[in-house]
Subunit: 487 residues, 2 copies
């Protein structure tokens, strides 16, 4: 008999315990070779004073088993409680959020019966890093950071996933026509990695058009890979139009730990009534079984579940006069799935996860590439200008500053306000003063950090409130900064 | 006889000239009191060497008439040509993009026949300001800037628009559960302004759920106000599911100038064939007529156009065996609309733009509010760390630095990596070193810019490559910066 794989299990809050019980009863009946270790996370733990909702003992278990099957939890309102999911994602480096979105028509109503796609969302970077600063009374800023290893990791994951699950196409969504450096990096990395998978088609769409196509014509997509924020938005769109918010599971994948859960919440209003649909968590458990290399059990369970849907044995949330035969509770639904273990669906395509190949996908990013030559050539000094000194007046002061750099342009919210600005009424309370070692970007020379420090000292003498700086570099002679409109 | 309003007209590229001709022939027949001034913008102008696609003479006309009716243009590929729309939006301060999304079922197929909403998108701020920097070999960054006046202006515009056009509800979409400062500002401003319009319902939704609801259930929305990027995405979703990409017009509104256009492109493949549908530009012209206070003419034209749709006189793009009676060309369609001037639709609700009130909405933002007390209390110094010095080693060096501040936390991509980090494999090549005047955020004292400059000099002595700084402030005692996870 096979050695059982230890997994960590969290029963969660609200309907969590009953759907976990139902799910584990099915895994048990299907003879999944798992050894569950139960941890306590969520509401009770928050209220015991753990602001992250997870005690040290639970961390120990997750780090030992490296696999977590988790029911939805309730985060108490107010009191600075932090999202457990965000904490786990960040702490454990769960860089990929993987969400299959499948329509189960006609049993679950949808306008898109042929929809069957998977969203692979970058989970750690972009504007969701939560790095925010208030620079002036009126101006707030959020940093969107993108790293090359981060992009490489998620794009490679998407292609490896496509290969493993026999998907035919990977679509990259970004807004690189506007954000040429950050989203541009994501798209460039996609273009670098895609040719390494000649059997998988690839395409890139701008996120606005891509989301519109997803909403109107989801059948055209197979695997989608995209940035954190965009992935968040399109995951909700896809789940909603599939009609299956109650049926979908999702995975948060890192190179060491992976976490599997339903995409729905803890629904405290219907907790303990034996009416919740355990399908979301069950589908997450199927993803988990493939991940821990028990593909036969995964197929066995998914097929029994599909057959149960086809037989019209439905929980209340998907009950319809037309397609349901019997309205059942959580436990009865689980029992119906167990009864059908070994059966295959007739209407739906049966699951057949390949065995024999170890299932885990590890992606580290950091492809070998030559380190480029980085040269410091200037700095952007941002000031708070509450008294609305005009751009010309400011420029007059700043052009007089000595040193190895000279004032090249003043901008506000990315718009040139000096010299020769055509802006009618510029916003003057937050100004970026760009100093370069040469006005001509083609003849930039190297400067030192000390040069910048001297410049900052001169700003102080002028009584200017420097709120931030962004140094300007070239990399192998290429500009490492965007030019202002009209610079 | 009324004095004619001068307007600037651009015939554009591709199908632009023929749809403009059709549109103007209808405006003419409806006796719109306009005096068109024709300018040349677009492809030809780009190729003459104007990288922005617009010559000075054209600017003069727009600034004089303050109203532009514009056909789609073609931006040549490559060669650094800049989007004319982006240039005009930024230069002229066109802060609001206003896009009505209406279903015209059954004549235009859609799954959402009752959809009738308006998206008011912030047009100048957010990640679309295009302020990007490459800080290290691997790390790229985009600044998302939000200003209080910018938020006030767009939110007020949305409510004023709702009031003027008798809309019942304004929905705000943001992601303020993650971006508490930037998106939080947008939501807070919405909450401040909404109560000033007690007759208009208001609600706030998180952008992911909001977009999903828009895609599945657009009938529940009336006016939507949102940030630049989100507005870009949902505008495309809404147009697509309305089925009316070829029928919709949009407005870009500033306090002095406004620009009206179709949402579709220049479609060079069908140019000059008299088959293009002029409806998008015509609907934009209707928006323009309301804007220049000719509401009766606007209603006259819109009603004739609706009647033409109902009568089954359709261009090829919306022709269907079931609902069309006659397939017509661009000119014939325009002639059919002209024939119906004075008639009202039977299936659709007739337009009835109110007369007597001057139509232009001006919104300046900058509501009077007490200037808060801003105190400099620390700084975030970001370094490039290509040799992967460990967090502990770095912290050891930095805790020794003297001065009025002390090292409080090291973070990478927003995650705490020192002290007491639980991150398994932190990203070490881009590190934020946070110095505060006190470890305890409740007892922060004021420091000077000179203190920060001294700190930067010490970084230089240590040979650290400072790539950027973000100063830390309190505003009326409130923190002007986000805390790291676990700080």
């Amino acid at each position: 008999m096979a050695i059982k794989t230890p997994i960590t299990v969290a029963y969660g809050d609200g309907i969590g315990p009953e759907i976990m019980q139902a799910t584990l009863s099915i895994l048990n009946a299907a003879q999944a070779q798992i050894e569950p270790e139960v941890i306590e996370v969520g509401e009770k733990v928050y209220l015991q004073g753990y602001t992250s909702g997870i005690p040290d003992k639970a961390w120990d278990s997750i780090k030992r088993t490296k696999v977590l099957l988790k029911s939805p939890i309730t985060t108490p309102q107010g009191g600075g409680y932090k999202s457990l999911n965000v904490t786990m994602r960040k702490t454990l480096g769960l860089f990929a959020n993987v969400r299959p979105c499948v329509a189960y028509a006609p049993y679950v109503p949808t306008k898109h019966p042929d929809m069957d796609l998977v969203i692979v969302r970058e989970n750690e970077e972009g504007t969701y890093s939560g790095i925010e600063h208030r620079s002036t009374d009126e101006v707030y800023q959020c940093l969107k950071l993108m790293t090359r290893p981060g992009c490489e990791r998620i794009v490679r994951y998407a292609f490896e996933y496509a290969k493993k699950f026999n998907r035919k196409k990977v679509t990259c969504l970004s807004k690189d026509n506007i954000m040429k450096m950050t989203d541009g990096l994501f798209h460039r990395v996609f273009n670098e990695i895609a040719p390494q998978y000649p059997d998988i088609k690839n395409e890139h769409l701008i996120i606005d058009i891509g989301t519109a196509l997803l909403a109107s014509n989801p059948e055209r997509f197979d695997v989608i890979v995209t940035l954190n924020l965009y992935g968040d938005i399109i995951s909700d769109v896809a789940a909603q139009i599939a009609g299956s918010v109650g049926l979908a599971g999702s995975a948060n994948i890192g190179n060491t730990v992976a976490m599997f859960e339903a995409i729905h919440g803890s629904a405290p209003d219907i907790a303990g009534k034996n009416i919740a649909n355990p399908s979301g968590l069950l589908n997450a458990a199927v993803q988990m079984l493939v991940h821990i290399n028990q593909p036969e059990v995964a197929s066995l369970i998914e097929n029994a579940w599909l057959k149960t849907l086809e037989d019209g044995i439905h929980t209340g949330d998907i009950y319809s006069a037309e397609y349901s035969k019997q309205k059942v509770g959580t436990q009865e639904f689980a029992a119906a799935v167990v009864e059908r273990l070994g059966q295959k669906p007739l209407h739906f395509k049966p699951a057949n996860y390949k065995s024999g190949t170890y299932a885990k996908i590890e992606c580290y990013g950091g492809e070998p590439h030559a380190q480029s030559k980085k040269v410091l050539v200037g700095t952007d000094i941002f000031i708070d200008n509450p008294t609305d000194i005009s751009a010309n007046e400011l420029a007059e002061k700043l052009t007089k500053l000595g040193g190895t750099t000279e004032l090249v342009v003043l901008t506000s919210r990315g718009l040139k306000i000096w010299p020769n600005s055509s802006i009618e009424t510029p916003y003057l309370r937050h100004i970026c003063c760009r100093f370069q070692s040469s006005k001509d970007v083609k003849s930039l020379k190297e400067i030192s950090h000390n040069d910048i420090n001297k410049l900052l000292a001169q700003f102080e003498q002028l009584g200017l409130d420097v709120v931030k700086t962004e140094n300007l570099y070239t990399f192998d002679g290429e500009l490492g900064f965007s030019l202002a409109q009209g610079q």
